[in-house]
Subunit: 244 residues, 2 copies
DNA sequence: GAGTTATAGTTGTCTATACATCTGTAACTG
DNA sequence: CAGTTACAGATGTATAGACAACTATAACTC
């Protein structure tokens, strides 16, 4: 149902409605109601309907075909969320025993880069957690987590011995919508090399990830920077071919 | 310049104009002319300007800030891994001009590693194509493709000037179901560094991908090994959190 | 000087409408 | 029956406005 007086934008309300429809009733390949049908049904402008539909197309949930209609996409990319689930699970899947070693835990302000990524004020307080991630007692990655204090409240060290995601989702009762991740190559700096127990200048993978909450503003909840030993770790992913 | 009588959509013409502006005159962080300025300058609707700008935002070339304006984004070539797409498609999506430079083309048997990945007999013939992939004339990646002759038939060099996927899907009429991909970090070897025009020992990303056909046996159709310059390229992926 | 209040300028949302282009089907034509 | 044409309905492009929400700055007030 669409509420025109709600502060929530109409296009967003419609997006949610279509998402629910797809999840509950429609199957891949099915035809979505046409733009005009939605416009008439809710007495809203067709351009507003298009805005909702365009966002879902951008997400890959549906696709358009000129002159035919809009269709439900094949389910996309069940990417093993080794990233988003956890390092621990990932390692266990590889038959290794994961563990963590906390290196530092502090509250910090004035980190402009992290603040900008997390979309908070530069002087807002951030938790900054550095830890080493190991598999079978061997260092694999050096991880730095930034998360805004005003979103996660008072944290203690214990929260990082288990999955931070569990804490966010089960204790804070927040829901993570998606994560964005980039991977590039670099050379190990002196400090990083020492922690990872490899020679300085060895190649490493630098992964950066930002996770967003499932709210209207898609609030960033954490920014993680990880340095992986390239001799011990590589990223693996499966991709489904997109529809045209 | 905008030509209202052109069959090319106005929003697309404006997109191209803004792309050029960014490439030639503006730097990351710079403010783009406002939507209203563009609308008045070319006597077009603000909604049309928004369509152009939205597309560039989607590509990550620029970003908007409500109440402030639209700004040029920091830039690095990023590959969107949420779907399996070719380098060419990928670059074009970013408004860059992709090109290829063929380095070698041969038929080879007895490459046990490639044969094993492609699930063919070790003495089956494979095409082995080495090429340099460029964006706006700049070398980005060094790519080696292995594909079984018995699956793709007689190939000529021309097939590799366009997208190899296009050839597989449109000419051979085969359908690619999915791809498996790994990413690791390494140091550029002498030979690779020379082709990529970077110093030896610089960090590079090594990507290996195997693509599978949409048939019963999920036949491997190609195995690709690519070396990406890490100063010009990073991998990007979005992960959706699974719904419960 | 510090805090508050206008104000101009920006992007965000939305409307009502028009015509273009493409697709599939039904009706027509030979 | 095969080919063509007409048409309805779909998305694609584009217009000319309107008001909301947000930002930075200038002007004002205490």
């Amino acid at each position: 149902m669409i509420n025109k007086n709600s502060p929530i934008p109409i296009y967003y309300q419609l997006e949610e409605e279509i998402r629910t429809l797809i999840k509950q009733e429609l199957n891949p390949g099915d035809l979505l109601p046409s733009e005009r049908e939605y416009a008439e049904k809710y007495d809203i402008s067709r351009m507003t309907v298009r805005q909702a539909i365009n966002n879902l197309v951008k997400e890959g949930l549906i696709y358009r075909q000129k002159g035919r209609g809009t269709f439900i996409a094949e389910k996309k990319f069940e990417q093993d969320l080794s990233g988003l689930s956890s390092f621990s699970e990932d390692m266990r899947n590889r038959g290794l025993t994961p563990s963590n070693k906390l290196l530092s835990f502090q509250i910090m302000a004035d980190n402009p880069r992290a603040a900008s990524i997390l979309k908070v004020e530069p002087n807002d307080e951030l938790y900054v957690i550095k830890r080493l991630r190991l598999a079978n007692e061997e260092p694999i990655a050096l991880e730095t987590i930034f998360t805004p204090k005003k979103l996660v409240g008072e944290l203690s060290l214990d929260h990082f011995n288990v999955s931070f995601y569990d804490y966010i989702e089960n204790t804070l009762n927040l829901s993570i919508a998606y994560g964005e991740q980039t991977i590039e190559a670099a050379l190990a700096k002196t400090e990083e090399a020492r922690e990872l127990n490899i020679p300085r200048g060895k190649p490493v993978l630098v992964m950066e990830r930002t996770s967003y909450l499932k709210d209207e503003q898609q609030t960033p909840i954490e920014y993680v920077n990880s340095i992986y030993r390239s001799d011990k770790y590589k990223f693996k992913m499966q991709m489904k071919r997109e529809q045209d």
